[in-house]
Structure formats: structure tokens, C-alpha cells
């Protein structure tokens, strides 16, 4: 048994997480992303909607014709790309947090109930989830937004609803495998009743896959929100949401590559960082992959 294992589970987790270089890089990028999102107004040089009419479609500063006043250039309306990207981080971060919290809390609760309930209720919940899963996520979100009206809030509700069944399935599956283990039976022998069994005994042992899923759905939420924005069904212009920015820039793709490239790179880097982190979480939390 290693020395590091003589501390609590958190230290042990960090010990394994640190091993995965990609995951640590992902964590740092994610931290930077969160920092930018939280302090966007302080970091951005300009207001994201401020239009500089005399400098429309300026290329990035290091290219001929660029201006260091606008390091990443300007968009077709003369707005500063860098400021818009920095503010865009807020929306993506916000979407990610809200979607994960809503989808995970609902999904975990339903999954716990399904895992502990009699067969009929379990079947009912799981069939309901099957129904939601039968709709491709983006399509369902799109239709929901079409009904509720295009806005970032509605997009978040739709995405959370669509991601929820994954948590239900995951939680239920781990509850079912944990429920018959001896330590749960021991808690029953000690007299623990259902709520205690569900939340104190079993739930903490089901968290590992759920945490990994949370990381994955954080990135899915960002991607889906951007896709909805791209289709004109998410955040509405002039909101500097990355997907919406891409949609606005579409017609300029062959003329001004930077208006298309930067928002996409921002999405890709953020999502990639979160997924790297998610992989690291999975490896660090999955005892099967640990080298003893």
C-alpha cells in the first residue's frame, strides 16, 4: 500500500489525477476559462457590443493591416473580437454550470428512486427516460426552443432536460450494483432506513461515474448551446455567445477567416480542456484502472 494512500480519499484522488499530464493541463485551462468567465468585465478591453465604425473587419494585430488596439481584430460591425470572446466565456461557463446542476440533481434523484423502488416504478421511470433518449438531443432542444421561444435560458432548459436521462441511467446502474454489496446489507442490519441507505450509504459510492458524467455533460452543454446559437435558436445577437458569433460570421468565412476561427477555437479549447479533465477524473476515480 502506498504512502499516499494513507490519507483521505481526496488526497488519494489527487495522487492519481496528477499522474495524467493531459488532465492537469485540462484543469489549468479550465481554471483559466473559469477565471476569465468570472472577471470578464475587468479583463476585456472594451464593451463587447461597442461598435468601432471606422475599424470594421480589422485582421488580428500581427497581420498586415492589423491594429494593436484590437489584438484579435474586429468583426463586421467593428466590435472588438477579444472583448467579445472574453465575454463569451461567461455565457458558456454559465450554461455549463446551470445545465450540469439542473440535469445532475434531477437525474441523480430519479436514478436513486428508480434503483431503490419496486419494479413497476423503476420500469415507469426508465421507459420515460427511453422516450426522451429516443429524440436526438439537438433536435429535441431545437423543438423545445422553437416552442418556448429562442433564448439562452430556454436553450439551457432544453439541454438540461435532454441530458438528464444519462444521469438517471448511470445512477440507477451504480445503485443496482452497489445495493447488493455487503456494506449496504450491513447498514440495513444496523437498522438504517431507506432515506439513510439511499443518501448516506449508497449515493457517495455512486458518485465517481456521476462526476465523470458531469464533466462530460458540461462540455456537451457548451457544444449544444453553441450549436443552438449557431442555428439562431440560442442566445440572440448581439449577445457575444460563441455559437451566435459564428452564425453571424458565416457569410464572411472566405473573406475574414479570423471572425470564424477564433470563436471556434475558443469552443474547441474549452471543450477539449473539460474532456481532458473528464478523462483524468475517470482514470483517477476508477479503481479498476489503478495500478496497484
Amino acid at each position: 500500500m502506498s504512502v499516499a494512500l494513507r490519507q483521505g480519499p481526496l488526497a488519494e484522488f489527487w495522487y492519481y489525477f496528477r499522474e495524467n499530464r493531459g488532465a492537469v493541463i485540462g484543469l489549468w485551462v479550465f481554471a483559466a476559462f473559469a477565471f476569465v468567465a468570472l472577471f470578464a468585465p475587468l479583463l476585456a478591453p472594451y464593451d463587447p457590443t461597442q461598435q468601432f465604425r471606422q475599424s470594421v473587419l480589422l485582421p488580428p494585430a500581427w497581420i498586415a493591416g492589423g491594429d494593436w488596439a484590437f489584438p484579435l481584430g474586429t468583426d463586421p460591425l467593428g466590435r472588438d473580437m477579444l472583448s467579445r470572446l472574453i465575454h463569451g466565456a461567461r455565457y458558456s461557463f454559465f450554461v455549463g454550470i446551470v445545465v450540469v446542476v439542473v440535469a445532475a440533481s434531477g437525474g441523480i434523484l430519479l436514478g436513486l428512486i428508480a434503483g431503490f423502488s419496486p419494479r413497476w416504478l423503476d420500469s415507469l421511470i426508465m421507459r420515460l427516460m427511453d422516450v426522451i433518449l429516443a429524440f436526438p438531443s439537438l433536435l429535441l432542444a431545437l423543438v423545445l426552443v422553437a416552442i418556448l421561444g429562442p433564448s439562452l435560458t430556454n436553450a439551457m432548459i432544453a439541454i438540461a432536460l435532454v441530458l438528464q436521462p444519462h444521469y438517471v441511467r448511470l445512477t440507477r446502474a451504480s445503485v443496482l450494483s452497489e445495493r447488493t454489496r455487503d456494506y449496504v446489507v450491513s447498514a440495513r442490519v444496523a437498522g438504517a432506513r431507506l432515506p439513510r441507505l439511499m443518501f448516506v450509504t449508497v449515493l457517495p459510492n455512486c458518485l465517481a461515474p456521476i462526476i465523470v458524467q458531469a464533466a462530460l455533460s458540461f462540455s456537451t452543454a457548451i457544444l449544444d448551446a453553441a450549436a443552438l446559437g449557431f442555428l439562431g435558436m440560442g442566445a440572440q445577437p448581439p449577445t457575444p455567445e460563441w455559437g451566435t458569433m459564428l452564425a453571424e460570421a458565416r457569410e464572411f468565412i472566405l473573406r475574414a477567416w479570423w471572425v470564424v476561427t477564433f470563436p471556434g477555437v475558443a469552443i474547441l479549447v474549452t471543450v477539449l480542456a473539460i474532456n481532458l479533465m473528464g478523462d483524468g477524473l475517470r482514470d483517477a476515480l476508477d479503481p479498476k484502472l489503478k495500478r496497484s
Binding site: 454489496r181 455487503d182 456494506y183 446489507v185 450491513s186 442490519v189 432506513r193 457517495p204 459510492n205
Partner: protein, 319 residues
């Protein structure tokens, strides 16, 4: 017979499996018509191979699941599911696998505290803590283990923790479900010694479940041999081990390897394997593997009969 702490009569447990929308569910008779009594401070060993119903018996006696038929009583109180909550502190259990039976997300202190927290609501936090430390000392766990997590311990120490948890409520009966089977030989003897010391000091009654005859022979006072959900032979240790009457007991004893190269003996060769618990044969369950089986054995089931040393066989050994 008020001396019996634990008394069971005709305990049965039937599971239904499969079924679903098609076909009717099939029945598994995991436990059929098992009766016994254990006097205070004594050890009854239940012996048998996998699928013989010994673990089901443990689960029924520990009030994890109700019997499908039959009754059992603790100190004269009939146990019914409605009374489970009040009787929790009478019977506790120690499981075989010391790795699966401790919650990996709880510290040792929390694991040991849980039974008190649930069942001794009147105790203050400090009183509970004192009790936890007292029991830790009792089972030989060092005080500094108090705040550690289960994965930091070896199998033997975990089994001590499991025993400590079972003792928290000061039970009268301890069900030991293969408590040393997962342990190495050198650790096994430590745990067996601990169990025997505890029995002497606390006057505990043990229901000791095991497949290992040499362990059973060392710890028990009485033995019940089970085969496919039924008791086939019961009696005092000396009776069962020295003059077994059921052919299955005999075969089991002769199949158990003895750590003495000088005593190479001829084994009774049993052919075949356990029948499926889904279709238990009509007559004696052991008839298909028994070298003495006659037509009657296959048609009719023998009852467990005898005075003190009981056997369920038409043609028992030794007359």
C-alpha cells in the same frame, strides 16, 4: 427450554426468479424446513457447499429478509418483520468478504458509530465516541485507526473492524458468515482467537457458517450439515465429526484435505455435482450422488430424525 437464545422452527426461504412478461417465475428453494436451537454462549456451525442455503439462513436469522415459512425466536420473542427494528440489537452479522462489507467512503469512526446513531438516539456524541473507542480496544484495533478509511487496512484488520461494528449494539447472537474464508492462514488464526475470546468475555452466542471443516471442528459446539437447502445431519461436534451418519457428511469429511502427508487415505469418490436448486429432486436431494442410494431414496424424502444426533437418511452409517 428457556436456555435457547435462538430457536428456529421449519424456516424456509423461496426466491422467485425470471418471469417478467413471459412464462411464470421459477422458484428457487434456497432454504427448506430448517430447525435448530442454540443455547446461550454456544456455537452452532452450519456446514455445507455453495448453494446449500447456509448464507440464506444467515440472512433470514439476521432479519435481512423474512422467511417464506416457519418461525424463529430470540430469547423467546417471536421475530416478525414488524418487530425487526426493535430486535436489531439482538442479532448482528459479520460477512465473509472484509473488502466488500465496509463502506469505502466512511471513516472507521463513522462505520462504528452508525449503529449507535440509528438505534441509540439517547446517547450524546461524546458517549457514542467513548463507546466506539471502547469496542475498538476490545477487538484489538489501535486508537489511531479511528479516523482512517477502510482501504488503508489489511484483510485481517478489516475483519476486526467488521466484528467491532457487529458488537456496537451489544448483541446476544453473532452470525458469522464465513468470517475467515477470505483470510490468509496466518491471519485466520488471529481472527479465530479473537472470536473465541470475545465469546468467553461477552457470553456471545455464535451461528458460525463455514465450508471449512477444519475451522468448524475447532470452534463449534454443535454442527448442522446442510445440502441443497435442507439440514441432513445435526448433532454435537464429536458425534458428527467422529461418527458421521449421513453419507454426505461422510463424503464431505473424506474430501477435506488433511495437512498430514503420513495419513493419505482413500477418498470417497462422489460423482456428479449439486443438482440445480431450480429443480430439486423429488426424493433425497443427495440420492443422485450417493453410492448407497436405493429406489426409495429417489422416490421419498427422508426426514431429519434421531435423538440429539439427527440424520435425514434411510440408510444411515453405523446402523
Amino acid at each position: 427450554m428457556s436456555a435457547a437464545v435462538l430457536m428456529a422452527e421449519g424456516l424456509s426461504r423461496v426466491y422467485e426468479i425470471g418471469g417478467g412478461l413471459f412464462g411464470k417465475p421459477r422458484e428457487i428453494r434456497a432454504l427448506s424446513d430448517v430447525s435448530f436451537e442454540i443455547a446461550r454462549g454456544r456455537t452452532l456451525a452450519v456446514v455445507g457447499e455453495s448453494g446449500c442455503g447456509k448464507s440464506t439462513l444467515a440472512r433470514v436469522v439476521t432479519m435481512i429478509e423474512p422467511p417464506s415459512a416457519g418461525r424463529f425466536a430470540i430469547d423467546g420473542t417471536d421475530v416478525t418483520p414488524g418487530r425487526w427494528a426493535g430486535l436489531r440489537d439482538a442479532v448482528q452479522i459479520v460477512f465473509q468478504d472484509p473488502y466488500g462489507s465496509l463502506n469505502p467512503r466512511q471513516r472507521i469512526s463513522a462505520i462504528l458509530d452508525e449503529p449507535l446513531k440509528i438505534n441509540r438516539k439517547s446517547l450524546s456524541r461524546a458517549e457514542r465516541e467513548a463507546k466506539v473507542r471502547e469496542v475498538m480496544a476490545l477487538v484489538g484495533l489501535r486508537p489511531e485507526f479511528h479516523d482512517r478509511y477502510p482501504h488503508m487496512f489489511s484483510g485481517g484488520q478489516r475483519q476486526r473492524i467488521a466484528i467491532a461494528r457487529a458488537l456496537m449494539l451489544e448483541p446476544r447472537v453473532l452470525v458469522l458468515d464465513e468470517p475467515v474464508s477470505a483470510l490468509d492462514l496466518s491471519v485466520q488464526s488471529q481472527i479465530l482467537n479473537l472470536l473465541m475470546e470475545l465469546q468467553e468475555r461477552l457470553g456471545l452466542t455464535y451461528l458460525f457458517i463455514s465450508h471449512d471443516l477444519s475451522v468448524v471442528r475447532h470452534v463449534c459446539d454443535e454442527v448442522m450439515v446442510m445440502y441443497l437447502g435442507r439440514a441432513v445431519e445435526t448433532g454435537a461436534k464429536a458425534q458428527v465429526f467422529d461418527s458421521p451418519r449421513h453419507p454426505y457428511t461422510l463424503a464431505l469429511l473424506s474430501a477435506t484435505p488433511v495437512a498430514d502427508p503420513a495419513r493419505r487415505k482413500e477418498r470417497i469418490k462422489l460423482t456428479g455435482e449439486l443438482p440445480s436448486p431450480l429443480d430439486i429432486p423429488l426424493g433425497c436431494a443427495f440420492a443422485a450422488r450417493c453410492w448407497k442410494a436405493q429406489d426409495r431414496c429417489r422416490a421419498e424424502r427422508p426426514d431429519l430424525e434421531g435423538d440429539g444426533h439427527k440424520v435425514a437418511c434411510f440408510f444411515p452409517e453405523g446402523g
